[in-house]
Symmetry: D2
Subunit: 228 residues, 4 copies
C-alpha cells in the first residue's frame, strides 16, 4: 500500500491528461490513469510511474471496478479529474440521435459516475478535489454543435450542483472552462496562440492547493489572443 | 386538411400544457397534444378541440410517428413546445445511475428529438416557434439535485445552440426559465405566490407573436415574492 | 386631475421613447415625457397628447422637480421608463476621464434618481412598473468601449438590486437588454435586420401587463439575424 | 533606479492589500502602496520595504501624480491592483444621492483612472497585469444595496472591456469576485469560514504568473462553507 496521495485522471490521453499526470507526479502524487485503451498511453505510464486501467468511463460497472482497483492499489485518493468528452458537429437537422446519446454518455454521464464514486471515497476523510474539464461550449451554445452544447452545459450543471452540495463537507469541486484549442503535442504553434497543456495543468494544481477559506469553483482559461 | 396553424405540445399534462393548449386554441390554433398516457388528459382534449397522441418523447421512433401524424392531421406546424422533464433528488452519493439516465433522456434527449423534428418541418417554410420549458435548475445547480441540474442545463445548451443556428433561418427558438413552483390546478394559493399557468402561457404567446426584428431567446419568470 | 394612469419616459427622443409613448397612449395612459430639450420632441407631443418636461435626468434637483410636476399634472404613476445613456468609444488609453464621468452620470446615476423617485411614489400604492433600457454592453464588456460598459453594467446592477428589493413590495422592476441597433425613424432597413422600436415597445407593454405571479425581471431582445 | 519589477496596490489597507504586499515582496517585487492616508499603513511599510503614497484614487490629478512618482522611484511596473470601494446600505428610497456618487467614484471611476494609467505604462513593454478586486455584488445585485451593486457591476464591466481590448496586446487583465467576508486581521475565525487574505493573495499571484497561452480573466473565490 502506497503512502503517497493518489491523483486519478479519467479519459486520459496525450494532451492535458498527460500534463496533469506529469505535474502531479512531480508534486508527490501517485498517478492512476483510466482510458478506454490504455495501450495508447505509451510512454506516459513509465514516465510518470502511473498505473493505467482499461475503463469505459460511461459504463457503471467499469467505473466501479476502476475505483475498487485504485483503492487497493494506492493510498488516499486526493484528486479525481474527468477529461473525457465526445463531440460531433453539423446542422441540427442532420445530427444523428445516436450521436446525441453518445455525447451525453461520454461527456456528462461518465462525469457523474466518476464524481459520485470519488465523492464516496473522499467524504469519509472530508477532503479531496473533484475536477471537471469543461469547454466554452458549456457556457455558450454554438450553432451546428447542439450535442456538444448539451453535454458540456450538463457537465457544468453537475459540477455546480456538486460544488454547492459537497464544498461544505470539505470536498473541492471545480469546473474548468477551456476556451480555445489545446495545442496538440505534435504541433508547434507560434506566439502561444493555443492553450499549452502544461500551463492549464498549473492552474489545476493551484486550484487543488487553494486554502479552503478561498476556493474557486470555476476557472475560465483562454489564450491571450482569443476573442471572447 | 385543416387550414388553421397548428400548435404542438409534447409532455402534455394538467398544468402549463393545459393553459398553453387553451390559450393557443382561443387564438386560432389547432392543438396537438403528445403524452405518454393521453387518457390522463381528460377534459382538456374536448375542451380545446385537440387531438391527443400517445408518445414517449424520449423514443426516436415515437417522435417520428408523432410528427408524421401531426403532418397528416393538421395544417402548418407553427409552434412546438417541449414540456417534459424528470426529476429526482438526494445526496449525490445516493443517486441511482439509472435515474441520471432517465433525467437526461426525458429532460433533454426528448427535447432534442422534438426540436430536430420540428426544425425539419418548419425550415422549408422559414418560420415557426420552437419553445423549451426550462427551470431555475438550468441556470443554477442546486445541491442534492445533480440529475435535474444536468438535464436542465443541457436543455438550455440545446436551446441556445438551436437559437444561434436557426434564428437567422427564420425560426424563433426560446427557452423559458420557470423559477418557482407552478400552482397545481387543484390547489388554491393566496397572494399569487406560485406561478399561475395561465399567466405563463400569456408570455409564451407573446414571445411567439414577437416581430422578428426584436426576438427574445430566453425569458425568466418568477412570482413577485420569489427570492432569487 | 386626470383619472387615467400615467406613463413617464425619461430620456425621451425620437426612437424607442416615441414608440413607447404612442403605444402606452393607445392603451389608455397619460404620457409624461422628460427630455433635456423638449423642443426636439416635435410632433410626438401633440400626437400622443403628452406633456413634455425639460429635465436633465442626471441632476437631482431636476428629477425632484419633474416628479413634483408629474404628481400634480397627472393621476397615478403606473410606469416609469429610463431611456437615457451616453456613449463614447476609443482605446482605453485615449478615453477622457470626463467622458467616463458623463457616461456614469447619464447612463446610471440618472437611472438611480428616476428609479428612487418612482419607487417613492409607487410604494404607497404597492404597484407600478419601473423599467430600465439596457444594452448588450451591460452583459458583455466590449473592447474600446469601457465607459459604456461601466454605465450599462452598473444599470443592470441597479435594476437587479431594485428588483430583488421592490418586487416583494409589489413593484415590477425590469431591465431590457437591447442587443443590436434600433432602426432610426428616418432610415429604411430591409429584412428586419435592425430592431423596430414599435416591436420593442410591444414587449415593454407585455412585461408591464404580466400577472405578478409570473414576472420577468430581464428580457433580451435582438433581431433574428443578429449574431450573439 | 531599482531593478526589481514593481507591484502597485491602490486602496491599500490592512487586509487583502497587506497580504498582497507581503506576498509580492517575498516573490521579488518592489512594492508601491497608494492610500488616502498612508499613515494608517503602519508597520506594513517597513515590513515590506514599500513606499507609500498619499493618493485619492478617485481624483484624476492624484492618480497622475502617483504614476509619475512610481515611474521615477521604481523599475518596470509589472502589477497594478485596485482594491478601493465604498459601500452604503439601506432601502432604495432612503439612499442619499451623494452616496451613490461616492460609490461610483471610489468603486469604479478610480479603477478606471488606475487601469488607464497602468495600461499607458505597460503597453509599450507589452506585458503586465492589471487586477481589480470585485465582490459578489458585481455579479448579483442584492436588495438594499443598490449603490454597491452599481459600483461593483460597473467595475466588472470595466475589467471585461479592458480584458477584451488589452489581452491581445499582452496585458493580463483580471477581475476577482470575492464572495464572502475577508477575515479582519484582528479577528479570529474558526473553521476557515471567512476568506483568509493570505489565501486570496496566493491566487492573485498565481493568476499573475499564468502563462499567456492560458489566462483567466475572472476568478471567483469563496469559503468552503459559503452558500452561493
Amino acid at each position: 500500500m502506497a503512502e503517497k496521495p493518489c491523483a486519478l485522471i479519467v479519459g486520459a490521453g496525450s494532451g492535458l491528461s498527460a500534463s496533469l499526470a506529469r505535474l502531479f507526479a512531480k508534486n508527490g502524487y501517485d498517478i492512476a490513469l483510466a482510458a478506454r485503451d490504455p495501450d495508447k498511453l505509451g510512454e506516459l505510464v513509465p514516465e510518470t510511474g502511473a498505473r493505467a486501467y482499461a475503463c469505459d468511463g460511461s459504463r457503471e460497472a467499469d467505473v466501479a471496478k476502476l475505483f475498487d482497483a485504485v483503492a487497493s492499489d494506492f493510498g488516499a485518493l486526493e484528486v479525481a479529474v474527468y477529461n473525457a468528452s465526445f463531440r460531433t458537429r453539423g446542422p441540427i437537422t442532420e445530427i444523428r440521435a445516436a450521436d446525441v446519446e453518445k455525447s451525453l454518455a461520454v461527456t456528462v454521464y461518465g462525469a457523474f459516475l466518476m464524481g459520485q464514486a470519488a465523492a464516496k471515497v473522499m467524504l469519509p476523510r472530508g477532503q479531496g478535489s473533484i475536477f471537471f474539464t469543461g469547454a466554452s461550449a458549456g457556457v455558450k451554445g454554438y450553432p451546428q454543435s447542439a450535442p456538444f452544447a448539451m453535454g458540456k452545459f450538463a457537465l457544468r450543471g453537475l459540477a455546480q450542483s456538486m460544488a454547492r452540495e459537497l464544498s461544505p463537507q470539505g470536498l473541492h469541486i471545480a469546473h474548468f472552462v477551456i476556451d480555445g484549442g489545446i495545442r496538440p503535442v505534435d504541433m508547434s504553434v507560434e506566439g502561444d496562440k493555443m492553450l499549452e497543456p502544461d500551463a492549464i495543468a498549473e492552474t489545476y494544481l493551484h486550484v487543488h492547493q487553494q486554502h479552503r477559506s478561498s476556493w474557486a469553483w470555476e476557472v475560465e482559461l483562454r489564450p491571450w489572443v482569443e476573442t471572447f
